[in-house]
Amino acid sequence: MRWLIARLLSGVMAAFVAFALVFSLLRLIPGDPVELMLGEQAQPAAMERMRAHLGLDRPWSEQLAGAFAGLMRGDLGTSLTSHQPVSRLIAVRIGPTAALAASAMAVALLIAWPIGLRAGWWPGSRADRAGRVFATLGISIPNFWLGPVLLLVFAVTWPVFPLGGYRSYSALVLPAVTLGTALAAMLTRLLRASLFDVRQQTFVVAARARGLDARQVLWRHALRPALSPVWTVFGLQVGALLSGAVITETVFQWPGVGRLLIDAVRARDYPVVQGVVVLLTGIYVVVNVVIDIGYAIIDPRVRSR
């Protein structure tokens, strides 16, 4: 229990440090957002007004303190283009992104679980060879290419799935496969490597020597220790999944947080850019706290540490 509280606290700390870092980085890097927004020929007076409106004329520490206070109230600022609160813009868009990310994870597990288990437990088998090819190709094919190719094949040439839209389940399939493939490849590779290591441990050899059959040894003895490294890296991969979602949403015109971010970048709507980056980073931190807690369930040794 004490361990759990400490982990939660450090998660909250990490989220705050991450927030402060994003906030400061966006203000410390050279480049004048106001000039980019209004153009180089803008009147100095207009630029000053915009600066005051954004609060950029105040000292950095004051801005950071203000932003922290806002964050505690759930206030992420106001959009410059639509004049709506950033938190409301995000609330509307978070559902589609969650649906996309969850289905991508499901796709990844559906692919990685059967292939990874077989490949790691029976090295040299056909599943192993297929898994190795898939794992190498899967991490090399960028999702912003996989998406258009899937559209070309399954929406244009053979119109099995719709070309756009997001209201039907069938519209979810191609984006989920696009986003899930890289994760599937990563998980396959990890699961295979991890099981392969565990397979050579003495307790597995001993179980085999006692005459248990390979399948029983896999499920009863080898699987649990093999899963803990996979689980940790899965948490780190959520970051890749979130950035992947930004690109997948752009390819498929998916109305999620990722497209909100890209639209905001194009419109130079800084409060929205900052809000979305903070949100996604926050999600990432929370997921990793949850992962750590799950880790303690898989591997009881962690709890005593």
Binding site: A14, V17, A18, L21, V22, L25, L26, I29, P30, G31, P33, L36, P123, G124, D128, R132, A135, T136, L137, I139, S140, I141, P142, F144, W145, P148, V149, L151, L152, V156, R189, R192, A193, F196, L236, G239, A240, L242, S243, V246, I247, T250, V251, L261, I262, A264, V265, R266, R268, Y270, V273, Q274, V277, L280, T281, Y284, V285, N288
Partner: protein, 267 residues
């Protein structure tokens, strides 16, 4: 496998060199969206009638410059900070490792998107934006390896012989860091190529030069009429990233034969 990878990487560098000598692509609206095999453009033409082959070569140069720049900047910073943290210890080590922990918590591309949004697009912006998160991987690796090397007999011998700390770092530690850092750099190179094309796919790349990502984004707009415009750039990116990943696997095995990899045979 390593032979395939070398051929692809060699072709990539050759293509980038060709782009340097090749005169600028000419706009020729008669040839707009011409399919591959047309006399003017053997690989097809884009929406402005420019030959795709020419644009791909220019993209090869962009990817090579940004990939090399990112690996050099992030690699140097990471190795110096990581090895330095391990050797000096104390508060420096604490600070470096805390920053590493926090930065590792960022999805790299996300931060790069935010940075290019504020700093404005450009090659240098992308290199810096990718390096801001990229150095942490090298720093972790360099710190771990340095801690291990510091305890080794030959470093102890040098210390006993009175070698100054800088000489130990320069002569004994850095050469031994080379192998693991090279492996890391190869995979990071693949990551940088993907990140660069992702950013330019999203319209955040260098607007003055063609990039594989921006070509692909342009191609998606003409998916029905000219599928080659999205298929070919994508194939090129995948081939280069695949080659770098295979090279990384091969190097891992070469430097550490005990570790089995996706490309290698299990022991």
């Amino acid at each position: 496998m390593i032979r395939v990878a070398s051929v692809i990487l060699g072709a990539w560098v050759a293509l980038a060199l060709v782009a340097l000598a090749w005169p600028d692509a000419v706009v020729n609206l008669d040839q707009a969206l011409a399919l591959p095999g047309s006399p003017h453009c053997p690989f097809g033409c884009d929406a402005l009638g420019r030959p795709l082959g020419r644009l791909i070569a220019e993209g090869a140069l962009t990817a090579l410059i940004i990939g090399t720049g990112t690996v050099l900047l992030a690699g140097t910073a990471g190795v110096v900070l990581g090895a330095g943290a391990a050797l000096v210890g104390g508060w420096l080590e604490q600070v470096v490792m805390r920053i590493t922990d926090v930065l590792l918590a960022f999805p790299g591309i996300l931060l790069a998107i935010a940075i290019t949004a504020v700093a404005g697009p450009g090659r240098m912006t992308i290199i810096v934006a990718l390096s801001i998160t990229g150095w942490t991987g090298y720093a972790r690796l360099a710190r771990g390896e340095t801690l291990r090397l510091r305890e080794s007999a030959f470093v102890e011998a040098a210390r006993v012989a009175g070698a100054p700390r800088a000489a130990i770092l320069y002569r004994h530690i850095l050469p031994n860091l080379l192998a693991p850092v090279t492996v890391q750099a190869t995979f990071a190179f693949a990551g940088a190529v993907i990140a660069e094309s992702s950013l330019s796919f999203l319209g955040l790349g260098d607007p003055t030069a063609a990039s594989w990502g921006s070509l692909l984004a342009e191609g998606v707009r003409h998916l029905r009429a000219a599928p080659h415009l999205s298929v070919i750039p994508g194939l090129v990116i995948s081939a280069v990233v695949l080659a770098l990943n295979l090279a990384g696997d091969a190097l891992t095995e070469r430097f550490d034969p005990r570790r089995e990899t996706a490309a290698g045979q299990p022991g």
